[in-house]
Symmetry: C2
Subunit: 194 residues, 2 copies
Amino acid sequence: MPSYHHGNLRAALLAAAERGLREHGADQLSLRELAREAGVSHAAPRRHFADRQALLDALGEAGFARLDDELRAALTGAGPGFVPRLHAVAAAYLRFATEDAALLELMYARKHTEGADRLVAAAAAPFGLMNDLIIQGQTENILEPGDPQRVGIVFFATLQGIATLINGNLVAPDLLTGITETAVDQFLRGSRRR
Amino acid sequence: MPSYHHGNLRAALLAAAERGLREHGADQLSLRELAREAGVSHAAPRRHFADRQALLDALGEAGFARLDDELRAALTGAGPGFVPRLHAVAAAYLRFATEDAALLELMYARKHTEGADRLVAAAAAPFGLMNDLIIQGQTENILEPGDPQRVGIVFFATLQGIATLINGNLVAPDLLTGITETAVDQFLRGSRRR
DNA sequence: CACCATTGTTGTCACCGCATACATTGTTGA
DNA sequence: TCAACAATGTATGCGGTGACAACAATGGTG
């Protein structure tokens, strides 16, 4: 016999929302449906999220946290060399992006509310990881000197753009590996000191 | 006294939808509101669009057509030199992308319906333009030999990724010019024959 | 001019988000 | 230990939506 207090409703709603997002996309996510899945009344979610958009923003924030985790895990497995680390980050990014396409869309959607500040703040971690990696390349004289923030943003943008084209059915998924390697190769031979 | 037959309802709905998209974003677009603006009953739009998603797909298709027009116009104004043409295309892409951020989201959203085939087909034109530009660069020995499709897709992805970061408030808009120039510079110096 | 296709209208249903008022339980401080 | 308050539920209401079905009006065609 379930009690009146769920006890962990916010987390349960987010978990259900991630499943729903994966299966049906963001447009089909509904607070009422999530409430039914969690076994509470339809108004209960509004005690944990100001509105539907706030729940979507929370999903996006969790997405950037998980992206950061996966990029760091990829770096750990790649060893100390800059070039293998760059390849590892690119591969991990695109794996995350193509496996969780609907979440990616949420993460990068235009932000309408002030409540999206936490989402934007969460993005700083993977951006910082990329920045640090560029600085490593420059310190080791593999990359030319230059503004690491700009260089890192361009590389990050390239990965995100590739994911968008693949997820949007504008580029065939079987081209992914080749395009990713072309992207890293172009990035390196363009920034590599001569 | 308006007649029973609107006479040009499909075009009127699309025009109203573009205005609504620009002002409020895709999420706030509603068939009933568009019908009211066009002065017809709420069910009339369904005579021209199978459902709401079909209208959104039509907007995306028009977006790719307009993007292609703007890229070609930029090329016309850039003269024959490959490098100025590349810069012109990059600038025109990002101008379009940042001025019509909501439309851009629609163009690149994940496609759920079979009806999105026309949208994907419409994307072929700007992709083809980019492909042709890469071939020009390779023919003139400014770019290294290589698969022009892959190279063009990576460059296209980079521009789209930059637009996504800017439009998603993940990168400050005032960084746009510098990042775009860095992107073109990295692209050239990476693919430029040495 | 009749018939058919196209394109409208009216009405309905089920769903939704959001808001308000009230109810139940958990926590805290005296 | 208990009262007060906060947190977190429920019930109800409202206005809007998308999609669908049945019917109506007009335009085009043979």
